[in-house]
């Protein structure tokens, strides 16, 4: 009589094959879930960038800007656009009359109280530069002509518009 080896039973023989099948199913579902979250995160980032470009097109309509111009644009168009897009934004206008000087600490751009003019859909006091920096905002810069050498001058010199958008 031949000895039967490795025979547990009709179901028992299939038990070892369950492990790779379960592992495969779990791996697949996990990958799909991870990929979906990556795509959602990327989409959110692209939406923020699109909104920042939209705000930029509004604010760079003209090559010249004074404080009052930014405030008018802010009330008429920028706040509505930003709020509709469900993002938080801060637009600052800086006067760089002697020429552009680039700060080593980018957070200095995130403070509306130190800028020549600013616009946001949040209260200025609620905007903390450290918190904004932690949200990895999209920052776009554009040159513009601003009153120089003084704020009330009729002559124009170098200025910079900073468009900062985050969620």
């Amino acid at each position: 009589m031949v000895a039967r080896r490795a025979f547990v039973g009709p179901l028992g023989d299939d038990i070892p094959s369950i492990f790779p099948i379960v592992a495969g199913v779990l791996l697949f579902i996990g990958t799909m879930a991870y990929a979906a979250s990556l795509v959602a995160e990327k989409n959110s980032y692209l939406e923020v960038r699109k909104t920042s470009l939209g705000l930029s097109y509004i604010v760079t309509e003209r090559g010249q800007m004074k404080k009052a111009d930014l405030e008018t644009l802010c009330a008429d168009k920028l706040r509505k656009f930003g709020t509709n897009a469900r993002v938080k934004f801060l637009i600052t206008l800086e006067r760089e009359c002697p020429g552009y000087v680039f700060e080593t600490d980018p957070k200095t751009t995130y403070d509306p109280n130190t800028a020549y003019a600013a616009c946001s859909n949040l209260d200025f006091d609620a905007i903390k530069p450290d918190e904004v920096a932690a949200r990895s905002p999209v920052v776009l810069n554009y040159p513009v002509a601003v009153p120089c050498p003084d704020e009330g001058s009729f002559t124009d010199g170098f200025g910079m518009i900073n468009v900062i958008v985050w969620r």
Binding site: R4, R5, A6, F7, V8, D13, D14, P16, S17, I18, F19, P20, I21, A23, G24, V25, L27, F28, T31, M32, A35, L38, V39, K42, N43, Y45, L46, R49, K50, L53, S56, Y57, T60, R62, G63, Q64, C97, P98, G99, Y100, F102, L140, N141, Y142, P143, V144, A145, C148, P149, S153, F154, T155, D156, G157, F158, I161
Partner: protein, 254 residues
């Protein structure tokens, strides 16, 4: 019990099937990761280009408003911007913008410039530092791009003189120095005399033909000509093009 398919071999087949399934799933997951890694790259590239174009449009708009006297304090890098003295614009009154000076510079009369207008800091024989004013203002306005490794070239095309190479118009001559931060293309775009005519190569076309990924923005630039008592309007195109370059001030990338 079948002798052809003994129980041991049936169990072995089931495990083999399970492992094959796992391998196929792993392969599918690899494809998913590769796809997700490249998701959004094209949109990202398009938005990057849109930002660059918007930036250059802002530069061109600013040139119409920035006053000539406010750029006199700029001290440019002598290597990238040779023979550039921004103090020349110091004494112009506040009502004169950079674009006004450029229009006067480009609007040379045929009497003093029989070979065509030139950006030579002169209106006829009188001083009109338009090219200097534009070089100084672009040195500042293009600084963020310049510091990020981009080179730019600015030129004016005369729409009255289209050519086969440049249907939009012949480039206005830029003798001695060119409006660019590229030492290489400033040299390559040097005007030369050919058959009694001065030929000014287009810096943007040279950069494109050299294989650079060039982004350019152009806008109409009208110059009113009052010579002879009448008023005519000469149409030019003001163009700025940028491209990424590893050109360095010393050794040109070597």
């Amino acid at each position: 019990m079948s002798e052809r398919n003994p129980p041991a071999k049936r169990a072995q087949a089931a495990v083999f099937d399970g492992i094959m399934f796992l391998l196929l799933v792993s392969l599918s997951c690899t494809f998913v990761f590769v796809t997700v890694a490249s998701y959004g790259q094209q949109e990202d590239q398009v938005m990057r280009s849109a930002y660059m174009l918007n930036y250059m449009q802002s530069v061109m708009k600013s040139v119409y408003f920035i006053d000539a006297s406010t750029i006199s304090n700029i001290k440019p890098d002598a290597t990238l911007y040779p023979n550039l003295d921004c103090l020349k614009t110091k004494d112009y009154p506040g009502t004169v913008s950079v674009s006004d000076l450029v229009k006067r510079d480009v609007g040379d009369p045929a009497q003093t410039h029989p070979l065509g207008p030139a950006l030579d800091d002169k209106f006829g024989t009188a001083d009109s530092p338009g090219k200097t004013a534009l070089r100084c203002s672009l040195e500042e306005l293009m600084k963020p791009l310049s510091l990020s490794g981009y080179k730019y070239f600015s030129e004016f095309l005369d729409q009255r003189r289209p050519t086969a190479e440049s249907p939009s118009g012949k480039a206005v001559t830029q003798p001695e120095t060119r409006i660019t931060n590229s030492i290489l293309f400033a040299k390559l775009a040097e005007p030369a005399k050919q058959e009694g005519q001065i030929v000014q190569p287009s810096g943007c076309e040279l950069a494109k033909n050299a294989g650079a990924n060039v982004l350019s923005v152009a806008s109409p630039f009208r110059v009113i000509n009052y010579i002879g008592g009448g008023e005519t309007s000469n149409r030019y195109i003001f163009r700025i093009c940028v491209w990424q370059s590893n050109e360095t001030a010393v050794g040109l990338g070597r």
